[in-house]
């Protein structure tokens, strides 16, 4: 007997909001890689000479850099939030019969995010 199978189009991810958000989440990886490249450039310049470093800092003020940073920040922030929200699904802890609530675990992750960010700022920018 014949069956009917609905074909899946290559634009399936545009057909529902959750799927669309999923694909956006996956595309954040491009910006992660992009920023990795930027970091390499930054390190190369900072490790090179004062002139190279100064030129770099100057170029950071350019509109190109602004746009790059703004877009990267948006997507990477989306990556960070989705990543942290999904963490409690993977880290499951029980205290006796009771499961430690997802909100508590997510809260702990967000807290450590804040702490890490503070430490990094302090290390780079000094007091």
């Amino acid at each position: 007997m014949t069956t009917y199978r609905k074909p899946v189009s290559n634009t399936w991810w545009l057909e529902s909001k959750p799927y669309f958000l999923f694909v956006i989440r996956e595309f954040t990886s491009l910006f992660v890689a992009g920023y990795c490249l930027f970091l390499l450039l930054f390190i190369a310049k900072a490790g090179d000479s004062q002139e190279a470093y100064a030129t770099l800092i100057l170029s950071l003020k350019s509109p190109t850099s602004m746009v790059f940073h703004l877009i990267s920040f948006t997507f990477i922030l989306y990556h960070a939030i989705t990543w942290f929200n999904l963490t409690p699904k993977i880290m499951v802890f029980h205290l006796g019969e009771e499961r430690i609530p997802n909100a508590l675990i997510a809260g702990a992750v967000y807290l450590s995010w804040g702490v890490v960010s503070l430490i990094i700022s302090w290390l780079i920018l000094g007091s």
């Binding site: 970091l39 390499l40 390190i43 490790g47 960070a80 450590s112 000094g126």
Partner: protein, 114 residues
């Protein structure tokens, strides 16, 4: 079916995902706003230069860059497969992981040279 070697890739993906989520937003704020506009006063060349020359910092930076490269490689590979490039999945994998390996080598080279 046989057990896959996917775990090692997934491990790198997860580690990179966690590092980039934890560290990149604040770095973006620093390199995108604070440094160019000197919001935290002047951060001198010497300060940054000496820092990146420190072997411990170098090691940390290596992981902070290399692992997110693998995060990208793994995730982007599946993104491309999911949106229709399944037929050339081998090529996709080659490009993605190849890219991450190249990125890692370049990172090691740059850090080594400093």
């Amino acid at each position: 079916m046989s057990k896959s070697n996917e775990p090692v890739l997934w491990f790198l993906f997860s580690a990179g995902g966690m590092i980039s989520a934890m560290v990149f937003p604040i770095l973006l704020i620093i390199t995108g706003v604070i440094l160019p506009f000197e919001l935290a006063g002047e951060v001198t060349f010497e300060r940054i230069h000496n820092a990146v020359k420190n072997p411990v910092v170098k090691l940390v930076l290596f992981f902070v860059i290399a692992l997110p490269f693998f995060h990208w490689a793994h995730r982007f590979r599946f993104t491309l497969i999911d949106i229709g490039l399944k037929p050339i999945s081998f090529l996709v994998s080659l490009l993605c992981y190849g890219g991450a390996i190249t990125g890692t080598i370049v990172a090691a080279f740059i850090l080594w040279k400093i």
